[in-house]
Amino acid sequence: MRTLIHRPAWLLYTVVLLVPLEAHAQLGDPIRLYGYFQGQFRYGNERATGVIAVDSEQTSFSLQQLNLLLAKDFDPSFSAFVNLEFTNTFSTQDGWGNLKVEEAWLQYRYSPALRVQLGLRIPEFNNLNTIKNRTPLLPYIARPLAYETALAGILLDTEAFAPQHSFLSASGTYPVGGVRLDYSAHLGNQEDFVTAEGSNTFPTGTDVSLAKAYGGRIGIRHRSLKAGLSGTSDTRTTDVIRVGDVERVRIGADLSFTLNRFSFEAEWTEVISILSDAQQQQLDRIQAEQTIPQVSVSLDKRFYYVTLGYYLTDTVFAYGIVSQLFDAENIRTDDGILFLSGGMTYRPIDPVVFKVQYVHGQLKANPILDYTGSYVFAAVSVLF
């Protein structure tokens, strides 16, 4: 663990040491160094019965996230961007938190209608995927379920609902009168890629499978209206339920607009696993054999959220969210997790936003689990 934490630390030192030098010998404009962070307070009250018994209250302060962004324009055609993300009060001294290279890509810009990016990038999918971690943009502290990375690996397979990374992408915008038509397409590794762990031939973390993930989004913008359709296709490995590789398709739709002082934002995602007859029979057999239900007969998933907001003033915004997630693969979330939330933001100046949010979460999968949680969050998000 210690090794894993120390390994990326040299990246930070490199950034801090190199940026002031500003690379005078290099082409183009100076490097732009900027970023954002969000510090938060959280009060939680959780009660659960069933396979997990919980009755607890917690309060906690944390630096939820800090992102350092570096951008450089070499000339009108070529630019590069690096996004380093520190989460959960990152500290190598204390051995907690995480640092990762969220994005690092080179862009070739032929025109507004064609931009090509090479390197690690968050793919366009619906509205929130690319901005789920851009805290100054979001009114939320706890994000709608499929985007709440704090739940990843604990309760939910959040990465199943949207593509996380691509390595080759193209995007562009075509103006048609007052309307903007947007497109993006991406190619990358599958989310559950086969690592080269233990191999003598490939470095750790190399995807050694031939299957790749691809997808894209088409969208339309007119004034404040933004709508789009997204899709991805990849292959996932299902070690837990032993049915082998499964073709997976995600489809999604997003819609957002403002009308006078009202703001509306919604997304819907369907995750469909395409099983062969043999795989379906294997899944049925596993389910029939289990004494305690752990696996459903389907691997499909569904997620949606709807946010309705209102600008009380130019700087104060209030909102409510309804979000629900169904994951048929996990019997605990087969009947859905309900997420009800409301909050307010106050933006005294453009780069600073204060946030408060109340969240009520509910998960009922009788008799496996009956969970309710209430949370109160307060946070400040700063763009610098």
């Binding site: 404009d29 324009d73 890509w105 453009d350």
Partner: protein
């Protein structure tokens, strides 16, 4: 006959800028003489990061929420809070340079005049020869 001469003279007389309008201004020497509303919108949507001579567009914007800023974005058919979100979204995605934010129209005039590639907006009656007007928008 004198009336006819007067009408002809008025027709050919230099037309004074409409003082109640919004002047879109650029740094002197920027390769832009006349710009349409669509051209200006494209720049403020951060879709055109460079001028035709390769100079970077230095987009100027008023800080916070101000009535004149609201009037400018209304003239472009956009809400200022949506434009602020769009700018922030593109800047945080690494796809655009952050606009230069200035406190008021006096600072806007000074900064556009001093910054190569700059574009900004001013009340028509606040413009002087230190910048070039490329369009007037209704207020």
């Amino acid at each position: 006959m004198p009336t006819l001469i007067l009408l002809i003279a008025l027709h050919w007389a230099p037309v004074a800028p409409p003082l109640d309008r919004i002047a879109v201004v650029v740094h002197n020497g920027t390769p832009a003489e006349q710009m349409s509303q669509d051209d200006i919108l494209r720049i403020y949507l951060l879709e055109q990061p460079y001028w035709s001579d390769g100079t970077a567009v230095q987009l100027h914007d008023l800080r916070g929420t101000q009535p004149f800023k609201t009037a400018f974005y209304d003239a472009l058919g956009r809400q200022q809070r949506n434009m602020m979100r769009l700018h922030m979204r593109l800047v945080l995605a690494g796809e655009a340079t952050a606009p230069t934010k200035v406190a008021n129209t006096e600072a806007m005039l000074r900064s556009v005049a001093e910054t190569p590639g700059a574009i900004g907006y001013l009340p028509a009656d606040a413009v002087d020869e230190s910048v070039t007007v490329v369009a007037y928008l209704p207020r």
